[in-house]
Symmetry: C2
């Protein structure tokens, strides 16, 4: 049987340097655990724009469609701020999500015990925090038509975007969330603004439908997204799995990530429909951005990207035990204090470099 | 000269009981400070629905248009959850905002020193926090057409809402924000998702235009709304005035409010265009909701609603000194420990009732 295939898209900013560490980890699993992958690498985002004038070439897009999993670093940076909307680095990422139909974005917000003091929240509010936000990723206002900027009839302009959700789009992401809830503590909270948006009413009704007809055993609650933002700040541990739309998910998952105090630790998975071979289309990426301010200096924390590969082991390759092994290795490195600057406090010893953290994870493995 | 006019709309849940205390304060200003108001009272939200089958009658709407300021308590409650969208309590509030053209929603997020320990955030992160969020309130996805739920062509349904902003809508709320920034620390941060939404690009460009042409002296920055949500959690004191659209403003201002740890303390003002007589159309309301779980029990904290009246003194009646006086009275009551249950910690003495807090504020005045 041929090896499973990976496409690596390091992207911009710190993307390439954190991905270098991930490749070493991938090699380790091939050498030591007999988990060999066929790995290819290509460009996305600003890096692709610089080389080809587009943030994602058709060739790379086709390649992404053909592999078992894509690993992405990060896209964007001030260098590209003035580019036209249609070729901004972000469009490359959005095209991957849309054309691969990766509708379920899994964003764990987990507070590592060794890092709880980095949170801006009090220790007892966040210690042990373990939330999974399931964000719809291929529809809603990110993709709805009509959209654009036009002249208005007052001599100015009008900017339009459309939030549009269908029954099917809502039900399929709800199913992903219910499945996860079943494997966790069997509780799901769905968030929208059904009090002001009809698309929110449909969202609420369809999630309820999936519950009543397919997952009546899971405890389902509904919350307005503004109240959700509040409750995430006030008492995040009340939540287990949260399901929400593309735009609310963008804000809420970032707020939730920040609660943990260690953005540099948080991975994400974007998954398509369950596949017969057990390998849904999938893209894995860290939650952090391209951090242009520290790019190229060996300061970036590779953990989020390494943990994204752990998610790939779990969700694409059914290697839960190996994923556990990798996650445990990262945690032990943290505990030992081998940390990049983002995880150091005044008075701590010198921060480790990106490579030193990679070394330490390999050693712990 | 005739007295300035106030329309009081207590609404639902704890609205009526907190408004009772505000009326006593209003009377005090009439008796002791010669600031007499002509006060009328009417129904909104679920209360109006129960009486008239609509969350806001045309008569009340017309009355609101004719007064100098509207004070609103809160709307909504589980009793009304199954009502049709068009008559939900919230529609009453949204109609007031829209028809009075109250486009600038001022939401201060201020952390009272005596209450900093109630925050879920560490004391040093929030002590002294004083942000003003200016939220656009009459446009965007709350009001854009087309909207609604229809059959789709897959045998299901499709829910649609439209985000639509014009040059004028953006510029006028930007001006409100720049004006406030000038009276504060001269810094404004504008938030949108210009990386994924064209309406966000227009927002950014028009805010920049107002800056360059009318307020070049104010320091303007732009931030993506998801990063904004993160930064509010991480280091809120970096912000002074924030301007953002209706939907982002809903989530971000609620998150910011929760940072302070004392939702029961936070007022808001919703203002229309500057008027020749110095009295823009205006509606004042607490940030908290109708809290149906404690309604009618004398437990509700009246401070947010009282402070909303202080905002009315400041923004509608040019009585800055009297507003300061009222705010100082509320703060001194807090410091003295006369507090409702939401501001008590385990081991504190018995909580004060809504009326007792009202009494104490009157005494402090
Ligand atoms: C980079 C950007 C397009 C993206 C988004 O808005 O979805 C990012 O913020 C994210 O959350 O993955
Ligand atoms: C009650 C509701 C319609 C309202 C809103 O979404 O604007 C509330 O959440 C607010 O922020 O004032």
């Amino acid at each position: 049987m041929s090896n499973p295939t990976l496409l690596i898209l390091p992207g911009d900013g710190i993307g390439p340097e954190v991905m270098t560490e991930v490749r070493r980890i991938i090699d380790w699993f091939g050498d030591k655990r007999g988990l060999k992958f066929d790995v290819a690498e290509d460009l996305v985002g600003g890096a692709a724009y610089d080389a080809h004038g587009t943030p994602l070439t058709d060739k790379t897009m086709a390649h992404a469609q053909s592999v078992d999993a894509v690993l992405l670093g990060a896209v964007g940076g001030p260098k590209y701020d003035d580019l036209d909307f249609s070729v901004k680095p972000e469009r490359g990422l959005l095209r991957l999500r849309k054309e691969m139909d990766l509708y379920a974005n899994l964003r764990p917000a987990q507070c590592f015990d060794a890092l709880a003091d980095f949170s801006s929240l009090k220790r007892d509010i966040v210690a042990g925090l373990d939330i999974m936000i399931v964000r719809e990723l291929t529809s809603g206002i990110y993709f709805g038509e009509p959209r654009g900027i036009q002249a208005d009839n007052e001599g100015g302009r009008v900017g339009v975007n459309t939030q549009r959700y269908t029954t099917n789009e809502i039900r399929r992401v709800a199913r992903s969330a219910f499945e996860l809830a079943r494997r966790r503590s069997n509780r799901l909270c769905s968030m929208e603004k059904a009090n002001v948006m009809e698309s929110g009413i449909l969202w609420r009704e369809e999630v309820q439908w999936v519950h009543d007809n397919e997952y009546p055993d899971v405890e389902l609650t509904h919350m307005y997204a503004d109240a959700g933002a509040m409750q995430l700040v006030r008492a995040p541990k009340q939540f287990d799995v949260i399901v929400t739309d593309n735009l609310f998910g963008d804000l809420l998952s970032d707020a939730a990530a920040m609660l943990t105090g260690s953005l540099g630790m948080l991975p994400s998975a974007s998954l398509g429909a369950p596949a017969e071979n057990g390998r849904p289309k999938a893209l894995y990426e860290p939650v952090h951005g391209s951090a242009p301010d520290i790019a190229g200096q060996g300061k970036a924390n590779p953990c989020a990207c390494i943990l994204s590969f752990a998610m790939a082991l779990r969700y694409s390759f059914d290697q839960g035990t190996e994923a556990d092994r990798l996650e445990a290795a990262v945690e032990s490195v943290l505990r030992d204090g081998v940390r990049t600057a983002d995880l150091m406090q005044a008075g701590d010893r010198d921060p480790a470099s990106t490579t030193q953290v990679g070394d330490a994870v390999l050693k712990a493995l």
